[in-house]
């Protein structure tokens, strides 16, 4: 009998050790899971580099992005102007460097707004259920019926073109997508036993929300948000290209492409380099989104893939 007890004690310590070891192992595995996805690493590095460029723009840009020089218009690439100058004699490289700011700003705000509005609305729909859910879903479906870029176009048309309009417009177009994902996550979490169990042991709804809902819903929602940010950059570029974006002379990658369009045959470098900048940032965001999707549990693919 006493021997049995000893053995049980041994099992106890053994298990505690085992659990500790397993926990440490799991943390290491989590880190490995992220670093072993090259797309995630590459995307993050590129994005961080672009953020650095945006923050340091005034100090690393060789010229002021708005300084015109009418004697030096459409200059070819040279040591003084590595990417040449545009039709107003402005240094293209400096304009590109400063253009990073607008794109990042739009991406950041759209991700922030669509994330906060979308998650709250989606969570309310998913957890409340009933007619609240039905109304939100219908409203969401209606907003998603509008082609995103078109919706942005209409809002800019109604409000006039400004950075705020663009951010608002693209956020309205993408928040429903975040909400839809959040709702589907909420629906899958709601019936899971740990939520029931938490309620049974007397956790408040807020505690349940923080402990179970947020950690479970964050990954898929972040994936959608990165994709929204990528789409926002493309939408801003498109609007700027059409002349409906940020007012010139403020440089944005979209209006640099538009400026370069008139000189596309003689100075193709202007438009091409700006397009490459946009692509670099969008690729970075998409890589982060793809990488996260692969790194986090594969079941998530089901929740996000169809909505993107």
């Amino acid at each position: 009998m006493s021997e049995q007890l000893e053995i049980d004690d041994a099992i106890g310590t053994l298990d505690a050790d085992g659990i500790r070891r397993e926990k440490r192992g799991r943390r290491a595995a989590t880190i490995r899971r992220f670093t072993s996805h090259p797309s995630l690493v590459v995307g993050t590095v590129v994005l961080l580099a672009l953020i650095a460029v945006a923050l340091l723009a005034p100090s690393i840009a060789p010229y002021s992005p708005t300084r015109t020089s009418l004697v030096n218009t459409l200059a070819p690439a040279s040591w003084a102007h590595p990417l040449g100058t545009d039709q107003f004699g402005r240094d293209v490289l400096s304009r590109l460097i400063h253009g990073t700011r607008v794109s990042l700003l739009v991406a950041f705000w759209v991700a922030a707004i669509s994330l906060s509005v979308g998650t709250v609305v989606g969570a309310i729909a998913g957890f409340t259920g009933g007619w609240v859910d039905r109304i939100i879903v219908l409203f969401n479906d209606i907003l998603m019926a509008f082609p995103g870029f078109l919706l942005a176009l209409a809002i800019v048309a109604a409000r006039g073109s400004s950075l705020d309009s663009i951010i608002l417009a693209v956020s309205i177009a993408y928040a429903p997508r975040v909400a839809a994902v959040m709702r589907s996550v909420a629906l899958t979490i709601r019936p899971r036993p740990f939520v029931e169990a938490s309620r049974a042991i007397g956790l408040t709804p807020t505690q349940i929300l923080l402990r179970h809902v947020v950690p479970n819903s964050l990954p898929p929602v972040i994936v959608v948000a990165t994709v929204s940010a990528a789409s926002a950059i493309l939408a801003e570029a498109g609007l700027s290209f059409l002349g409906l974006g940020v007012k010139p002379p403020t440089p944005t990658w979209g209006n640099i492409i538009a400026d370069g369009q008139t000189a596309i045959t003689t100075n193709p470098l202007i438009s091409i380099s700006a397009g490459l900048c946009i692509a670099a940032m969008v690729v970075a965001l998409n890589l982060i989104g793809d990488g996260l999707r692969d790194a986090l549990d594969p079941q998530m693919r089901r929740q996000t893939a169809r909505l993107l």
Binding site: I7, A10, I11, L14, D15, G18, E22, G25, S36
Partner: protein, 335 residues
């Protein structure tokens, strides 16, 4: 054991899930099994012990990137692992076939069950659509699905769980296999339906003389339906014997522990059932010695159990084999 000729002979089968080049997680570790014509072999063990993976690997349908790294799988004297994909495909589903655990996910939801059986028939036989359809109806009848002429047009979601499993069995026996592997065929079903399905499998075995591999964790089923048993633990076979000797005198601590987890008719009503302590091991982090050592009531903490990983050895005969260094102690404890 009756002297019946061997139909399936698995030797040293090892399957890994490669994590990165050079390293990998071993899911099936040096497994050797034999199956004689017409016999029923029960394969038991906890979930994740490599029971299913052994047979998926043997048939060359382990989900990638999992792959077989060693071993031979002799089916009627031919090594399945070295066959060309085309030759393997000809045998798969025809000479050697499989029934899966969850009939709902094993049947394709967007095709009627008849069409799915027709698909299998026509993959192996040079017959027309009409003839295949007639055979499908006959097969549904053979697995006792009522009104087969109408049911043949039903989609899986229109059938009950038991009917779905019958349809899946009809598909598996469509070409008269010599070996049928039934992977937990009743786990997803109601208790009453479970008995019917096993009855059906036993009848089909007796009628056709096919050998049956019954993968299960239900020891009651084993006692009732199997001739021989292989016990799996952590990707390895730890004990292999005929049913009677195994139930009478298990010679691996894991098997003993397994028996303690189930109630018997002869156990007193107030007796406590003993769950196996600890958790099934993580296949990515197996201890260097015997994988059962940390949970073992005999070997825990013993030097020799921690140091060496024993293989199957006669205990004491070639018919009853155990992978425990201390199997004689179990025998002594019994008497």
């Amino acid at each position: 054991m009756k002297a019946r000729s061997t139909i399936l002979d698995i030797q040293g089968l090892t399957t890994t899930l490669p994590a990165r080049p050079g390293s990998g997680v071993t899911l099936v570790d040096d497994v050797s099994l034999t199956l004689a014509r017409g016999e029923t072999l029960a394969v038991v063990g906890e979930s994740g012990s490599g029971k299913t993976m052994t047979f998926l690997s043997a048939l060359g349908i382990a989900p990638p990137p999992i792959r077989v790294v060693a071993g031979v799988v002799l089916f009627e004297g031919v090594d399945l692992l070295t066959l060309s994909p085309a030759a393997l495909r000809e045998r798969r589903g025809a000479a050697i076939s499989m029934v899966f655990q969850d009939p709902l996910s094993a049947l394709n939801p967007v095709f009627p069950i008849g069409a799915q059986i027709v698909e299998v028939l026509r993959a192996h036989l040079p017959i027309g659509r009409r003839e295949a359809r007639e055979r499908a109806v006959a097969l549904l009848e053979r697995v006792h699905i009522p009104d087969p002429h109408r049911r043949v047009h039903d989609y899986p979601h229109q059938l009950s769980g038991g009917m779905r499993q019958r349809a899946l069995i009809a598909m598996a026996i469509a070409l008269g296999p010599r070996v049928l592997i039934a992977d937990e065929p009743t786990t997803a079903l109601d208790v009453t339906v479970q008995a019917q399905i096993l009855e059906l499998l036993a009848d089909l075995r007796d009628e056709s003389g096919m050998a049956l591999v019954l993968i299960t964790h239900d020891l009651g089923l084993v006692a009732r339906h199997a001739d021989r048993v292989a016990v799996f633990y952590a990707g390895r076979v730890v004990e292999q014997a005929a049913v009677e000797p195994l139930f009478a005198a298990p010679r691996h601590p894991y098997t003993v522990a397994l028996f303690r987890t189930i109630p018997h008719l002869d156990t007193p009503a107030d007796a406590e059932l003993t769950p196996i302590v600890g958790h099934p091991p993580n296949p990515a982090a197996l201890p260097p010695g015997c994988p059962f050592e940390p949970r073992c009531f005999v070997g825990r903490g013993r030097e020799e159990c921690r140091a060496t990983r024993p293989s199957l050895m006669p205990a004491p005969s070639a018919e009853h084999r155990s992978a425990c260094l201390h199997w004689p102690m179990l025998d002594a404890g019994k008497t």
